[in-house]
């Protein structure tokens, strides 16, 4: 497994942000992380990125425990936050150069050129990132994330600010990376995006894991009166209806 989360808890004083979630993402899998605001999605991603320390539980990236081997784990990881902040005084190309040095990526230039072309940034190669639009900055952050060919990719609201072309490129790139053997986690409020590109889904609510499984299995097994549900219907039924712990749901969690 490329991403492993076991019994992850995160508390801030008396506030429980995440209350014991367990899942794994295999190479080639795209996991959609969904949930209402405050569900614990970003907290989970930031913990997997090594920014937050778990209160309890084990996190691993590419078979490297984040607590014991943080550097090795992070070397296999890319994290693109929901509002990527770039270095204002650096150009797009300088960002890629720095990231290549950071992740010790040899012969990175051809890959960087390809990524810039793919995300329509070639003309902006020498532009300062402070001069770019929100969507373009998002694309730069994604290029930086992809440059070192990570085995685990964490994307937090990756479509924010992207134009239709950018959205299509982003979706294609996620599929390509997964096909190439990367494990991808996508946190999004856009359920249509999750249905479109994810192979599995994890629904969080108030820090608890409501549901986890392959999308197709979930649609088949967790349905209302035998009727096939959309992810949106499933989401609202679970998060706004009676909430049961995942363990009670038994077969619904067939993912990990």
């Amino acid at each position: 497994m490329s991403i492993v989360v076991e019994d992850y808890h995160k508390t801030y004083g008396d506030t429980v942000a995440v209350a014991g979630i367990t899942f794994a993402v295999a190479p080639g899998e795209v996991l959609g992380l969904v949930g209402p605001n405050g569900a614990g999605k970003t907290t989970t991603l930031r913990a997997l990125a090594g920014i937050l320390t778990p209160t309890r539980g084990r996190l691993a990236i590419a078979d490297h425990d984040l607590a014991r081997e943080p550097v090795a784990a992070k070397a296999a990881l890319a994290y693109v936050p929901d509002d990527p902040r770039l270095f204002d005084h650096l150009t797009v190309w300088e960002h890629l150069r720095f990231v290549a040095a950071l992740y010790r990526t040899p012969d990175w230039q051809p890959e960087a050129e390809t990524l810039l072309a793919q995300f329509e940034l070639t003309e902006k190669r020498d532009a300062l990132t402070s001069e770019l639009s929100r969507g373009m900055r998002q694309k730069v952050a994604i290029c930086c994330g992809y440059l070192h060919r990570p085995r685990a990719i964490l994307l937090d609201e990756p479509l924010t600010g992207l134009d239709p072309r950018g959205i299509r490129t982003m979706k294609d790139s996620v599929r390509q990376r997964a096909d190439g053997g990367a494990a991808v986690m996508v946190s999004s409020h856009l359920l249509s995006l999750v249905e479109d590109i994810c192979t599995s889904v994890l629904i969080l609510h108030r820090g608890r894991q409501l549901l986890h499984g392959k999308l197709a299995d979930l649609r088949r097994e967790v349905s209302e009166g035998g009727r096939q549900e959309t992810l949106e219907e499933l989401f609202f039924r679970l998060t706004e209806g009676a909430v049961r712990p995942e363990g009670d749901r038994g077969k619904a969690d067939g993912g990990t």
Partner: protein
Amino acid sequence: MDRALWLLMGLRLWGWLRRLGRSVGTVRGALLVAAGALVFLPWVVSWLLAPTPTGQYLAEVRRLGPLALAAYCLVQLVLTTEGAITFSAAEVNFLFPAPLSRRQVLAYKVLGTLGTSLLSTLLLTLFLRQYAVNMAAAAVGLLLAVMFMQLFQMALALLASSVGARAYSRRRKIVLAVLVLLAAVAVAPAVARTVGKGGEAMLAEVEASPVAQAVLAPFAWFVNAFTAERLWPDLVQWAGLGLLLNLALLVLVFTLDAHYLETSAAVSERAYARLERLRRGGPTTAALLGWGKARLSVPSLPHWGGVGPLAWRQLTTALRAPWALAVVVIVMGVFLVPSLAEGPRRATAALDTGLTITLFVAVAIFVPPLLPFDFRGDIDRMEVLKTLPVPSWRLVVGQLLTPVAFVSGLQLVFFGVLLALGGRIDALLLAGGAFVLPINSLLFELDNLLFLWFPTRQLSATPGDLQNMGRQIVLWMVKLLALWLVGGLAALAGFIAYLVGGGSAVAAGVVGWVVLAGFVVGLVPLLALAFRHFDVARDTP
């Protein structure tokens, strides 16, 4: 340190220089840099060339310097409640999830902090050189002292994040209590010996006590390095000791590196949010960050064709920035001190004249930046303002009403206090009170007009930014020129009325007031025009 971090440092330095160079490339940028350089560079050169005597107050510097450093450390110990080393948002984004060890990231931060302090140390050396004997020694001593202060702050921050904010807060209180107790026990004999001999004698006695000598000794190393007369052995000896102390702190910083990332990320996020607020509306709106709850609310104002809701919004914002309002009250209150010192019924006409003028000058210089509850604080809300179904001139009035009303109300209270202290009806103070409204309106109108014409974010400058200095100087000159022009015309009209009216001061005052009010009213359409022409796509800095 990882070579990628060295690369980042180099790229950032180069990026900063490139940005400065690019901004100079435009005509406006070059002119603003020239204006800044014209003021700043002669100032530095005059410092360098001035035949300033060296080694002034050497004994005092050697005596008080260690005390000042010790006081700094004590203040840090008292104030550091939630310690964390702050990183920029981009650093958190790129470095925290990167395959770098915590120590590598920490080393980057330490080196970056010390590197950026080099420039400030250089300027500080120029500024303080008359207190040292040798320029090289002054520079070395100051650099070591600045390094010490930064490393001390970092060590405290890491200590706080290592033991946890709550535990740190508890232990800090215990440590502080023990320190206070020890200090009291240590200085008690010295204090007892000097009772009745005055504060200076008591301080000297306390300083001479073995405990104080021992506590102040490390701080004295930096001061002795700064005031060293010979490179060998003075500077080498004291600087060597100071360097050793800094190295010890550095070792402490690196041994306390466990689990600082999470706290740093959280604190950096808050710092970034604060910076964003600073960029939007200056320090006043940034201070609102600490006021998470709406503690004060204002009843709705009448609609007044759209003026009411706009004024209500600005008024509510102002009342939720009590620090800004308190600072304004303090700034203006300072000018009342001489009158209060005179006591009741002793205020003289000369004093009243001086106070009336200084009250207006104080408002003109200090107050507008503290009260950006108008267009200046709405730089990121100009789009919304443009969509409102309110005529431009009413929008201008609604936007400016709050700061004008607040400052005018405050000044009227102060004039009332002065009248009460004087115990008589003072014509000058009454006239001052009468002119409060038009003068304040004019001040805020000019500030907002210049902002709409040359929009700039408050506090967007970086150290050594000559262009920003130039911009501020030019704006100040334009503002003062406009004030002199309008004030001069009002005074001229008043003088003519005085002559025509057969020496009537009342006629002069009324005519002067009417002329000023005419300018105030006349500026509203100009402001409305400037607002309409403000292009959010082009003009938002």
